[in-house]
């Protein structure tokens, strides 16, 4: 045999996932059907806040094809939807019930469920359900004084407090104090595939099945087990193709519970597919916060302290994440800067809007905007450049690992590695910042409204604590990697296969990655918090290494060689020097069958479990630079140039990393300029279609450059990986705001999204003032 093992890690190989997806053979939630299934349609509250006085289902029940209609009374035995992390006494009263009873608290809240033999019939019947609600005043602004949520409870379930040092002392010794009032608009993931859930009860096996699962199937199985009082052994979740996740899809919502319970009680599979309007008012919203932030700064422009009060608009109920985003906002706000004193109070408030939860880069998109606005303001206050003010405050590489007495996702923030200033220098050189500044100045003199923006940020990834993977080599030579990780379309299968291929010494195309199936592996923590590549890939490497050792041990006997002389190249085991006999991995697996006479005392099967545990998250980091132009006639912002520089420690597949960063950029751009869930004063949602909630299109994409750095591998995992999933989106609001503000002369942009209306008003006001 000849040749060296192929280096799969670091190679931009084509994805394993693509063929079924480009040929129309994918299987998304709505592509799953079972014989005799029923279709569910939700009846939702038309009011943001009110007393639910009566629901009349009689006319709807008379429609041919309607099998049942449920209101809260029909499922009174079901608890409200649980937190993923388990019971929480303080937050428990604010959970959402599966169907509303007593009160409704947002427009779109489910009040009844119609089950019918045909989806058109279910929708017809739902229209005939009469819901009488006595409207109450709606709470729209989370910064208003808290009001009553229910008897004895206010709309402020908790205040998230973190901090360190002596903040009063910092402000006492400040040379300058810079203060801002900043707001981030309500927007969300809005994946192209709406949610869907198919419940099926298999009485023959006494197993309850949820199809269309995503994100965290294993964790959700545990929650469902608690809620439904069934053993996890009697519940299975099945992930199929997922049409975009971004944090929103795959949480447990009322509809997931309903299809499962209905499948058992009505004795037929039950399918629910969300329509787009429903998605816009029922799936998790995100991002909306208002920050009143102050910085104490010394005479040289160095931060002495940050004091932040923010108001987190959670919407009507606390969903599966609890207070996670507000906590994360507290923990991650300081970013890449040295900060001796810090105090943050996050007012976690309920309003009469769709409940909020995580959307790609939760707590960071918001606080990166806030902190970077603050840094720009400090630069202006000191008459320093925006680059210089950042240089003076960046944490230096020799300070790593840099521990902060803060928590993010319940994990102490310990920045693991990074050379922040070096990445800034790389980014400035890459985009030729000095030249861009000169060009922008010249164009401004010629009357154009153009500006440059810069933002720096620290991301987090690889949430532990543990993940496990099973690798199994079949006698055919095909390898299965079975993981409790999940795919939300990011290329998970390919990346896991690449790592397995490299360690095992086979072609990654010989590997089948099984994920999101609770009946194939007992544990898994899915795909969230940019953890899949960090955790699952390292667990895969460990499992593949164990399989490799077992294969070499078996082969050494068969080839009459010693393990140390052997290697595996392209699935064939032979000597390093290429001499002598060889045996394929598949044939080696054959010798390890239980019935094999050559197996000896070895444990049957060429397979192994591998686990990876980690104490802390890893922290990738980035620099974003944008050049924008404002149309003075319309107020429209055109992003002319964009650079994303991001250090991922080690890129398993640079093509896919770039794909994550560019895709994230587009989402971030939406939140910066276009996307906002707006409400009127009665809490009526105004953004319920793609005509009034605008997603970026191909025409909105700038000339985009991506610099993937691998200068600071994570010391926290053997592969050195930091995650890339959220690095593209995280600072886009910050950088676009910085650039637009620069175009306007500074100090004017304090909220996202930056709408053409707002900019036009600024421009017109200015013209009038001249």
């Amino acid at each position: 045999m000849t040749g060296k093992p192929t280096a799969w890690i670091g190679a931009s190989v084509a994805r394993l996932e693509d063929r079924p997806l480009v040929t129309g053979r994918g299987r998304f939630a709505d592509d799953i059907s079972f014989p005799h299934q029923l279709h569910m349609r939700m009846v939702r509250s038309a009011y943001a806040h009110g007393r639910l006085s009566r629901i009349d289902t009689s006319e709807a029940l008379a429609v041919r094809g309607v099998v049942a209609i449920w209101t809260a009374a029909d499922i009174a035995d079901l608890p409200p939807i649980d937190f993923r992390e388990g019971p929480n006494e303080t937050l428990a009263p604010f959970r959402q019930s599966v169907l509303a009873s007593g009160h409704v608290r947002y427009a779109g809240e489910p009040v009844a469920a119609v089950f019918a033999t045909d989806p058109y019939v279910a929708e017809d019947a739902a229209d005939l359900v009469e819901v009488v609600i006595d409207e109450l005043d709606a709470v729209i602004d989370a910064a208003d004084e808290p009001s009553e949520f229910a008897k004895g409870l206010t709309t402020e379930p908790t205040i998230c407090r973190q901090g360190f040092g002596d903040i009063a002392d910092a402000f006492k010794h400040a040379a300058k104090i810079v203060e801002l009032d900043l707001a981030i608009g309500r927007h969300s993931a809005v994946p192209l595939e709406t949610r869907g859930a198919i419940g099926r009860y298999d009485a023959a096996r006494d197993v309850l099945e949820l199809h269309g699962a995503a994100k965290v199937p294993h964790r959700n199985r545990e929650s469902l087990s608690r809620m439904l009082g069934r053993s996890t052994g009697g519940i299975h979740l099945y992930e199929s193709h997922v049409g975009g996740g971004f944090g929103v899809r795959g949480e447990i919502y009322p509809e997931d519970i309903l299809v499962l319970v209905a499948a058992m009680r009505l004795g037929r599979p039950v399918k629910w597919i969300e329509d787009r309007r429903e998605h816009m008012i029922a799936a998790n919203h995100s991002r909306q916060q208002r920050h009143r932030i102050r910085a104490a700064v010394d005479a040289d422009g160095r931060l002495l302290g940050i004091d932040d009060q923010f108001y987190h608009d959670q919407g009507a109920y606390i969903r599966t994440h609890g207070t996670r985003i507000a906590d994360m906002s507290c923990g991650i706000l300081p970013g890449p800067y040295r900060l001796p004193n810090y105090r943050v109070n996050g007012h976690f408030r309920l309003t009469n809007k769709t409940p909020a939860a995580t959307y790609r880069s939760p707590g960071r998109y918001e606080t990166n905007f806030v902190r970077e606005r603050l840094m720009d303001a400090i630069a202006r206050e000191f008459g320093l450049s925006r680059i210089e003010i950042r240089r003076r405050n960046l944490i230096a590489p020799e300070e790593m690992p840099y521990a902060r007495p803060l928590l993010a996702l319940g994990d102490e923030v310990v920045l693991d590695s990074g050379h922040y200033e070096a990445l800034l220098d790389k980014a400035l050189a890459r985009c030729n910042w000095d030249r861009l500044e000169r060009e922008v100045q010249a164009r401004r003199k010629a009357g154009e409204l153009v500006g440059l923006g810069v933002a720096m940020y620290v991301e987090k990834s690889g949430l532990g604590p543990i993940d496990g993977v099973r690798v199994h080599v079949h006698p055919s030579g095909e390898v299965e990697v079975i993981t409790g990780g999940a795919s939300v379309g990011q290329g998970f299968e390919t990346v896991v296969a690449q790592v397995c291929a490299e360690v095992l010494g086979i072609d990654y195309r010989k590997i089948r990655v099984v994920h999101g199936q609770t009946d194939r592996i007992e544990y898994g923590i899915g795909a969230h918090a940019t953890r899949a590549t960090v955790m699952t890939a390292n667990a895969t490497a460990n499992a593949a290494a164990a399989v490799r050792a077992k294969a070499l041990d078996m082969a050494a006997q068969l080839l009459q060689s010693s393990v140390g002389d052997l290697t595996i190249v392209n699935g064939v085991i032979g000597r390093h020097d290429g001499k002598g006999a060889t045996i394929t991995l598949g044939d080696t697996a054959h010798h390890l069958r239980p019935m094999s006479s050559t197996r000896g005392e070895r444990v049957p099967s060429l397979s192994a479990d591998g686990w990876f545990t980690t104490e802390h998250m890893t922290y990738p980091y980035g620099v974003q630079i944008a050049q924008v132009k404002i149309d003075q006639g319309t107020g429209r912002v055109d992003v002319e140039k964009m650079l994303i520089a991001f250090d991922v420690g080690r890129a398993i597949n640079p093509m896919l990393v770039r794909g994550q960063l560019v895709g994230g950029y587009a989402q971030g751009l939406g939140g910066a300029l276009f996307e906002e869930f707006q409400y009127d004063e009665r809490g009526q949602p105004l953004s319920v279609t793609f005509a009034d909630y605008l997603l970026p299109t191909a025409g909105d994409m700038p000339e985009l450059d991506v610099l993937i750095a691998e200068d600071a591998p994570s010391p926290r995992n053997p592969l050195g990986i930091k995650g890339a999933g959220e690095g593209g989106v995280a600072a886009v609001g910050a950088v676009i705001a910085s650039a637009v503000d620069d175009a306007l002369g500074g100090g004017l942009i304090t909220q996202l999204p930056i709408t053409p209306q707002a900019l036009k008003a600024i421009i017109d006001q200015r013209k009038a003032g001249k």
Binding site: A14, G26, H241, G489, G663
Partner: protein, 160 residues
């Protein structure tokens, strides 16, 4: 509402005899009555383009057309792009250029691009982006979709 119409749909050259209500959309009929689930539903109000199919060669939002309106017309869906084992050049290009992530919008983009390129392979870059702006993708940031379609347009132009 429940009066049904017996119609014949010609999809990818094959005949499908279906019985549908007048209000039944073309996309529901393609997916549920004909079993061709490669065409996806993203918004049901004609904005996202996930349900784009070709009707008599023109890209059409199949959520905005009733099945009864498609009677007697040539419908093409993503399932019809592949010839035996050979993928359509656009399918190859989408894989090569990493023009898809979750893949949900992909069939719509493929049909949009096929429909346009079959008529005008000589689109300028600006025209191409303009055309592709009519569909939505939430994963890729469009960069690689544009690259993939441009690559195929170039190779079509190069061919005599």
């Amino acid at each position: 509402m429940s009066e049904r119409h017996d119609i014949n749909l010609k999809i990818n050259g094959a005949d499908y005899a279906v019985s549908v209500e007048a209000r039944r959309t073309l996309v529901d009929t393609i997916r549920d009555n004909c079993g061709l689930t490669g065409t996806h539903i993203g918004c049901e109000h004609g904005v996202c383009g996930a349900c784009t199919v070709l009707v008599d060669g023109e890209p059409v939002r199949s959520c905005l057309m009733f099945a009864v309106q498609a009677q007697g017309r040539e419908i093409r869906t993503v399932e019809g792009l592949q010839q035996g084992d050979r993928l359509h050049p656009l399918q190859e290009a989408f894989m090569q250029h990493h023009a898809l992530q979750c893949g949900f919008c992909t069939p719509g983009f493929l049909m949009l691009a096929v429909g346009v390129l079959e008529k005008h392979a000589d689109l300028s870059d600006e025209e191409l982006i303009d055309v592709l702006s009519s569909n939505l993708c939430r994963c890729t940031g469009y960069e690689n979709i544009i690259k993939a379609v441009r690559a195929v347009a170039e190779s079509m132009k190069a061919r005599p």
